[in-house]
């Protein structure tokens, strides 16, 4: 089922959580709402679910306006950040809940319920834990149970609020790959909220970058990362070095008298050399080198006293044989220039 959000506004007292937001999620899509805390992404998700009511605007499922339908009538599967499993019920009972509360006419028989729950527990690889209580499970297992519970009612859309937010780094990584896989298998239209750009870029087909109650850009991970619409999107998706600069005849000058332009360079687009190359370089002194991990991260102080972060491959680092406190020459390989729109938070 496709989702369309039209001109939705929501305020909590004086705080505007959503400001005339539009969003389209195609049938079978997996869309990430990405943004810092307070950007309105969770509010948008809750409005789609019917857990929150918009002040104005509408939500449509398959072109039909469902703004006035209650959460129960919308047939959404909702997965909460802190799982929200029913603590007094076993894993089995949790997953069966949505089927058990149906009216007698539409309720499956006990045998059908058992079969459906078994099938879902199989899907989340917890078939041996059916009799356990939520507190006896790990965080990752709990979140998988929450997912199975949401899928049990065969929802028209699946909505996930920071689904991996409460998990530790390694489990997060496993679970988000698993979610992607699950989505490919089940194919239900899904929207998930995250503040983690890696998660959004890795899992989603489409990323909607949100900031201060508005959607800044919607696009594929490749589009939002490589062709950011504005400085906020560029800044939010990955690490950046920010320079103030000006643009003359299509040439960007960094650290010149600022004329309202912001120049961004990602750490891996800065190249360190021992000798100046060409005319595009500045001097810097290395301050701190972190060689743990696939990339070597170097922090350096520029000739005008700003800090820059540079990433390079291990081979390059070995060839350079860099140490702390050395004078180097840094050349930007690629940069992004935006008019200073005050949005690069």
């Amino acid at each position: 089922m496709s989702i369309a959000v039209r001109n939705v506004t929501k305020a909590f007292g004086a705080f505007t959580a959503l400001d005339r937001v539009d969003l389209d999620v195609p049938q079978g899509g997996l869309v990430a709402l990405l943004g810092p805390s307070g950007s309105g992404k969770t509010t948008l998700l809750r409005i789609i679910a019917g857990l929150e009511v918009a002040d104005s605007g509408s939500v449509q499922f398959d072109g039909e306006d469902i703004s006035n339908r209650s959460a129960g009538e919308r047939r959404v599967g909702f997965v909460f950040q802190h799982y929200a499993l029913f603590r007094h019920m076993t894993v089995f009972e949790n997953v069966a809940f949505g089927l058990r509360v149906r009216s007698r006419r539409t309720r499956p028989s006990p045998g059908q319920i058992r079969a459906r729950v078994a099938e879902l527990l199989n899907l989340i690889q917890l078939q041996n834990q059916a009799g356990r209580y939520p507190t006896q499970l790990s965080g990752g297992q709990r979140q998988r149970v929450a997912l199975a519970r949401a899928l049990a009612v065969e929802p028209s859309v699946l909505l996930l609020d920071e689904p991996f937010g409460a998990l530790d780094a390694k489990v997060r990584l496993e679970l988000r790959r698993w979610l992607r896989q699950l989505h490919d298998e089940v194919g239900v239209t899904s929207v998930f909220v995250t503040h983690d750009q890696d998660e959004a870029l890795e899992v989603a087909d489409q990323v909607a970058v949100m900031n201060r109650g508005r959607i800044e850009q919607v696009g594929t991970p490749d589009e939002v990362y490589n062709r950011p619409a504005n400085s906020f999107v560029y800044n939010f998706l990955g690490n950046v070095n920010l320079f103030h600069g000006r643009v003359d005849d299509g040439t960007a000058y960094i650290h010149q008298e600022a004329t309202g332009h912001l120049v961004f360079v990602r750490p891996h687009e800065l190249e360190i050399a021992r000798q100046p190359r060409g005319a595009n370089y500045f001097r810097a002194t290395t301050k701190h080198i972190n060689a743990a991990g696939p990339l070597v991260k170097v922090e350096a102080v520029t000739e005008w006293g700003a800090r820059v972060h540079v990433e390079m491959s291990r081979e390059r680092f070995r060839d350079l044989a860099l140490r702390d406190g050395e004078e180097v020459f840094i050349t930007p390989q690629d940069l992004a220039v935006f008019a200073n729109d005050q949005r690069a938070g």
Partner: protein
């Protein structure tokens, strides 16, 4: 056994003081109640309950509790749900109101009912003209009992419901459960032990209340005397065995309450450790 690093002497001293204190102020009076009640034999003890006034008092106490406890159960769950799960204007004021019966002397509470519903009271003439009797009658006793016991259940549930938040209810709603199903299958099971505990405390207090009920009762023997009031009446008549026999019933109630309370706490604790 948790070692807290105090010497054996200090430990024994502390335990000894506690046991002595409890013995002197709790166990000894309890023993006296039963000793006097059975002082003239078992036959005399049971004969005390053949007095129609005493039987009427027992019935009235049961009636008052049977009305007050369900009323406060309904009120307590509703108030705790509203306060624990929703944000609204005047919330802290409502919490203070719930605590009011704890802070007001029961006698004052009884007096306010007299001033409100009594013959010289605000609503007195209207009630008299409609032939309704509140003060010096059963309705007044029930009202006074409800007043003094209404914080018990709400107070037990409030912190728990507030701590549990709304997530599980929201999950139930998105899964298609109705409001009533959500309440019965999610909200209520999550608070059942606290609820049971609150009901037990509320019941014990409802049956044992003296001050507020004493003011509104008017002490009409066989009609408006509850068990605590009947005990006072019997005692003032120098009928010690019957007085202490009735008192022994209230003491038994207290013991049963303690046992049930311990069982509930044990059950809740076991559930927690089982889950942890």
């Amino acid at each position: 056994m948790v070692v807290i690093g105090e010497s054996a002497l200090v430990r024994r001293l502390l335990i000894g003081v506690s046991v002595l204190f409890l013995g002197a102020f709790l166990m000894a009076p309890l023993a006296v109640v039963f000793a006097v009640a059975f002082g003239q034999g078992v036959a005399a003890y049971f004969a005390s309950f053949r007095d129609p006034d005493t039987l009427a008092a027992v019935r009235l106490t049961l009636l008052a509790a049977a009305i007050a406890v369900p009323s406060n159960l309904t009120f307590g769950v509703a108030a705790a749900w509203a306060i624990g799960k929703f944000e609204f204007w005047g919330k802290s004021f409502l919490i203070s109101l719930i605590d009011l019966p704890f802070s007001v002397s029961p006698v004052v509470a009884g007096l306010t009912y007299v001033l409100l519903f009594g013959a010289q009271g605000v609503l007195g003439p209207w009630l008299t003209s409609h032939n309704l009797h509140v003060i010096f009658a059963v309705p007044g006793i029930v009202l006074a009992t409800i007043f003094v016991t209404f914080p018990f259940i709400a107070r037990e549930l409030l912190p728990l419901m507030a701590a549990q938040g709304n997530d599980e209810e929201e999950a139930a709603i998105t899964l298609g459960a109705s409001g009533w199903q959500t309440f019965l299958k999610v909200t209520l099971p999550n608070v059942k032990w606290a609820l049971l505990y609150g009901v037990i405390l509320c019941n014990a207090r409802a049956m044992g209340e003296f001050g507020a009920v004493s003011v509104v009762s008017g002490h009409i023997r066989g009609l408006t005397d509850t068990m605590p009031l009947q005990i006072e009446v019997l005692y003032n008549d120098y009928q010690f065995v019957p007085a202490f026999a009735v008192a022994s019933l209230l003491a038994l109630l207290a013991l049963v309450t303690l046992v049930v309370k311990s069982a509930v706490e044990w059950r809740a604790g076991k559930l927690r450790s089982q889950l942890a």
